[in-house]
Assembly symmetry: C2
Homo-oligomer: 336 residues x 2
Amino acid sequence: MKKKLSINDIAAQLNVSKSTVSFILNGKAKEKRISDKLAQRVLKYVKEKGYKPSELARSLSTGKTRMICLMVEKISDYFFSHIAFHLEALAYKSGYKIIYCSTENDPDKTRELIKLFRERHVDGYIITPPPGIQSAISDLKNDLPVVLFDRYFEDLETDYVVIDNYKGTVNAVSYLAEKQYKHIAFVTLQSEQLQMKEREHGYTDTIKKHGLTPMVLKIPFENDADTSSNAIRSFLKKKPETDAIVFATNYLALSGVKAINELQLNIPGDISIIAFDDHSVFSVYNPPISAVAQPLEALAFQLFKVLIDKLENRVPIDQLQQIIVPTRLIIRQSTK
Amino acid sequence: MKKKLSINDIAAQLNVSKSTVSFILNGKAKEKRISDKLAQRVLKYVKEKGYKPSELARSLSTGKTRMICLMVEKISDYFFSHIAFHLEALAYKSGYKIIYCSTENDPDKTRELIKLFRERHVDGYIITPPPGIQSAISDLKNDLPVVLFDRYFEDLETDYVVIDNYKGTVNAVSYLAEKQYKHIAFVTLQSEQLQMKEREHGYTDTIKKHGLTPMVLKIPFENDADTSSNAIRSFLKKKPETDAIVFATNYLALSGVKAINELQLNIPGDISIIAFDDHSVFSVYNPPISAVAQPLEALAFQLFKVLIDKLENRVPIDQLQQIIVPTRLIIRQSTK
DNA sequence: CTGAAAGCGCTTACAG
DNA sequence: CTGAAAGCGCTTACAG
């Protein structure tokens, strides 16, 4: 392995001090009133030699690592892996790198992860917090920029970027109600997470507004495809009048389709469905499934903007930035 | 923000030199014959104060960052995001962190990314290489451990972990042939990638072995769901005798299902299908889709093992490690 | 058994 | 306009 060049080598070769080289490399030549001639000479040499300063040394010196920690519930989920993809593109343009990790919604694991990333001095955090870690988040945000997403804490003031969960189900249910569906059910998870609560409220409020009766099925949070489709099947047997279902997540909708098929019912002939949270397979499904879509790229954009504005001091560290991104109702063929 | 403790503070408080503290913290107390009493005192104090050495400073000093670069085609793909998830769990246990990036199969972007990660001194690389970057990979692996996965180069000796693509389609086609299907088609992408070639060879060889006639449809690499399902539909119109299809990727299979539905054909009544590469939605699809599954966790395990064995010098740097992981044929209801 | 010192490769206040 | 020097927070060969 060929020896890596250091700024000392460059300085020695060129007979200038390494401060001068450093200033030139960091674009402070003008500011430090270094002659254009010298600057050009250094730049040319550096380019020739393909010298790149060590980010490590720079980090130790500046205290900045240009790394962002992306802490999601599970990186392999459709939603999170797409956010990761879009964030990467944005970070790339700004010279930041992203380290990810999965909390699996476990508060202890999350606290441990935060500790580990602090040792590595990442500059900022993007987090989908599990329940009960308000104090860890609070400590963290005292020291570094933190933006929560997907969910936040009502009892903790933080920056966050979320979608309008409430409005999302309001739109879905309103659409169905206006199409004259009379027995619109809601299938959700047993979860205290804010975003789930809000999806449910959007459903309940809209159902009532239209003078209909709410029918809610709650499935245990830990479930596999079979247990949830079984639960949905028995629910439908008990409520055969159901003519439409709004699902609180995309995977619940897939289990729902399975249950509906098993009951030999037709979508949308017998039952129409709308899923919260779009999925790339929905458009190639049979039938293509209507969805309340989370605008992934827009979310990632807002997330990155909120964080980078703090990292680069464009927004005061203590100024709250709370962004609510609207959802989009995509009607495909799973609704009449 | 409370001032972070440094090793100097610890040493000063305890009236010992920082070398001693460093040795104790790194478990070299015995080796350096430091008294148990002193060691205990230091450890206790460090624990009390919650002191954690700065990984950054340690990295600059040791030249190791305990970071691994995971460079995949696209982090949001089902396959890659799941590999990322499993790798994270393994890395976590070993004290490594993972930085990801997406090449989008672009050689120039990939070369640029490698350059950026080298500046950051990551310790090792896990890469799904785009075509034509043999020389960049070759340079890289001269300096650092690199393991390719999903695909590799026939003209470059490297460590790699791949699945047995050839055997994967052999198994799928054999299964169908033994079930007496006579007109088994293969739908793949126009791609020169090794893994695609091998899937195709597995198909062709097995078809011939059974005395059948190969029918191959190649869809442009850049495609959306509609163009591919259109292509499949016209293919099926031209070859109405087709009684089974093996798809080279999971998304092609979804497009295929769409095309088959549009033609009012029944799965598996009229046409049976098997997809290469399982997907979490397959089991909740209508009908559930049979698949040649890539064992995600096993792949991640092998990948990590190959890399970590080199990072920790358990395997000589120049000893090639080339692992081929078998696929698993999962029969669901899309085949009779 | 333990400490003083050099070194990793940068940045930046300070001095001239 | 430019350089010598300190500092970021560690590790580790060397000396005693």
